[in-house]
């Protein structure tokens, strides 16, 4: 997959306002209230600027996709939304990230409280080396739920939502490590849903899966959309077309002087617009496959 940076200005960082449509403006849709509002967000690892000047809004009960070539910062931006970048010691966020109007990086904001409301599913399924039941019950248990009956209920409900119940209902006490890749990823989704978050962030959830498992997860996303807000990072453009309501296209700016690459948000719009009628040439080049 070639990087599209040959088409990208290499001299100075362009002003983002000139490149993207104001969030939610162009079509006749009326999006719900914004769940996330990011304004001029830049993310640094030490002194290295990984992502520059991202501004977008994610709306409730929509599936928002982040697409773009490798290394353009999509995962970095995603992890900023639930403060997972805090786990990297040198990571630093500048700019304003608001969740339902409250700044996520404010002085007295607890990262654990943030993550309880904003869950995450990772690229490679990572079930705990515990039983299937204990995997799903883990979240509710650390939130204080002790009642056995309630836990049983929660586990069944989450597994049904993740379309995994029928396959595992007879072996809830078996090790979760015995599940296949697709099952394990659905387990991780069920585990995330068990704490009843507000938002589910998904970092390339299907990239390690076969097409059938991928289809199952995409169906799952459509079904739970009405109860959650979903942001998905994907390098599969067809998936973005199939699944998302809005798409943000990120790209890479190469800084010739320091030989570094910085991610930048190129365009953010309704999915149909991005793929059929994009405003920016870089977007057009990427989605039409002239650049991978």
């Amino acid at each position: 997959m070639d990087e599209p940076e040959q088409n990208v200005a290499t001299t100075s960082l362009p002003k983002p306002a000139a490149l993207q449509h104001p969030s939610g403006a162009p079509d006749s849709d009326t999006p719900g209230p914004p769940v996330f509002d990011a304004k001029n967000v830049s993310i640094f690892y030490g002194s290295f600027r990984a992502v520059t000047d991202v501004s977008l809004s994610v709306y409730q009960h929509e599936i928002t996709a982040f697409i773009g070539p490798s290394g353009c910062g999509k995962t970095t931006v995603l992890r900023t939304l639930n403060r997972m970048n805090d786990l990297v010691p040198s990571a630093r966020v500048e700019g304003d990230v608001r969740y339902h109007g409250v700044s996520l990086y404010g002085p007295d904001v607890s990262a654990t409280a943030v993550r309880r409301r904003i869950g995450m599913v990772f690229q490679k399924p990572n079930p705990f080396p515990k039983s299937i039941f204990d995997n799903i019950a883990y979240g509710p248990r650390i939130n204080g739920e002790r009642n056995k009956g309630k836990l049983n209920e929660i586990v069944e409900h989450s597994l049904r939502q993740a379309a995994l119940w029928d396959e595992v209902k007879d072996r809830l006490n078996d090790s979760a490590l015995g599940l296949s890749g697709g099952q394990a990823q659905r387990l991780c989704i069920a585990r995330t849903l068990a704490v009843e978050p507000d938002v589910v962030l998904m970092d390339e959830p299907c990239s390690a899966l076969d097409p059938i498992a991928t289809a199952a997860i995409e169906d799952l996303m459509q079904e739970i959309k009405s109860q959650y807000t979903i942001v998905i990072v994907t390098h599969n453009m067809q998936q973005a077309t199939r699944v998302s309501d809005r798409t943000a296209f990120f790209s890479v700016l190469r800084n010739e002087k320091s030989d570094t690459r910085t991610g930048v948000l190129v365009e953010y719009d309704r999915t149909e617009t991005i793929f059929q009628n994009p405003s920016d040439d870089r977007t057009k080049a990427y989605v039409t496959g002239r650049m991978g």
């Binding site: 997972m84 939130n143 090790s175 490590l177 995330t192």
Partner: protein, 296 residues
């Protein structure tokens, strides 16, 4: 190399010549090394069993310690068995929790900070300290002020066990993959919760195994106990005061006596000590299997 056109068939036989002979030589050397290793091990076990089995009996394992001159069928090593178990248990209770917590600090909290580096370095140095030096250290700071006691022995053994527990637990904790921690954080767990509910359970098999190995080693130490528990001939169930005895010190005392009875008792005690270590190994395996039930 297409067979269809009737060309030469591929040669799939074992490689001949130099590769085959060097393979053979390497295999032979490995078998030889294994045999050489088994021989002294087998010899030790065989000798101890041969010389000590005849004296082993329930009355031997529980009877009180007779004077050195007594013949083999009088008395036994009961107080020494009790002493070894008590002192080693006390040492374990002191060293293992501190060791595990130390490893948790090194791995999860300390990172590359100065305190973590100092602890890691000191722990590595302590692994190499000779056991007699540890015994003298405890002698000078504890026994000289509080007298001989089982507690002093436990302190010395604990100091020997601590660096082993820290290092082996640290290695086990490092083996827990980061994606597991990330998954736990992403569900809204605090760092302490992540460590207690995901990291430690995932590493517990190896940690327990390492701790039991440390215990088995400490149970057999002689030199540090000589300087800290002194010698006792009578049972002393109070591990916190007055001289005490243990299997290793009893072996030391008896083996240097010319009396036949004392020699037999020394061999019997040696066999008992090996049996205790063996039981601890089996316990380690069982516990590890139990805890790693969900890891397959």
């Amino acid at each position: 190399m297409t067979i269809a056109t009737g060309q030469r068939k591929p040669d799939l036989r074992e490689p001949t010549g130099r590769r085959r002979s060097s393979n053979g030589i390497a295999t032979a050397l490995m078998v030889l090394a294994f045999v050489l290793m088994i021989i002294p091990l087998g010899f030790v076990i065989f000798t101890v069993i041969a010389k000590g089995a005849s004296i082993i009996s329930w009355s031997f394992l529980t009877g009180s310690i007779p004077p050195q001159v007594a013949p083999a069928n009088v008395g036994g090593i009961g107080p020494a068995v009790v002493g070894t178990i008590e002192i080693t248990a006390l040492a374990t209770v002191m060293a293992v929790p501190i060791g595990i917590l130390g490893a948790v600090y090194l791995n999860e909290y300390g990172g590359k900070g100065p305190l973590a580096r100092v602890i890691g370095f000191m722990s590595d140095v302590m692994t190499g300290v000779p056991s007699i030096v540890m015994g003298l250290f405890i002698f000078s700071i504890w026994t000289l002020h509080f007298g001989f006691s089982g507690l002093g022995g436990a302190l010395a053994l604990g100091c020997l066990m601590l660096p082993i527990v820290i290092r082996s637990s640290d290695e086990m904790l490092k083996l827990v993959p980061d994606p597991l921690r990330e998954a736990s954080y992403a569900l809204g767990a605090t760092k302490a919760r992540v460590t207690l509910t995901v990291v430690l359970p995932a590493a517990i098999g190896g940690i327990v195994s390492g701790a039991l190995l440390a215990v088995a080693r400490a149970a057999g130490e002689t030199a540090p106990l000589i300087y800290t528990i002194g010698f006792a001939a009578a049972a002393n169930p109070n591990v916190f005061s007055r001289v005490n005895t243990a299997l290793s010190t009893q072996i030391f005392a008896n083996a240097s006596q010319p009396y036949v009875g004392a020699q037999s008792r020394a061999w019997g005690a040696a066999l008992a000590l090996i049996a205790i270590a063996f039981i601890l190994m089996i316990a380690a395996r069982t516990v590890t299997a139990r805890f790693t039930r969900y890891s397959r």
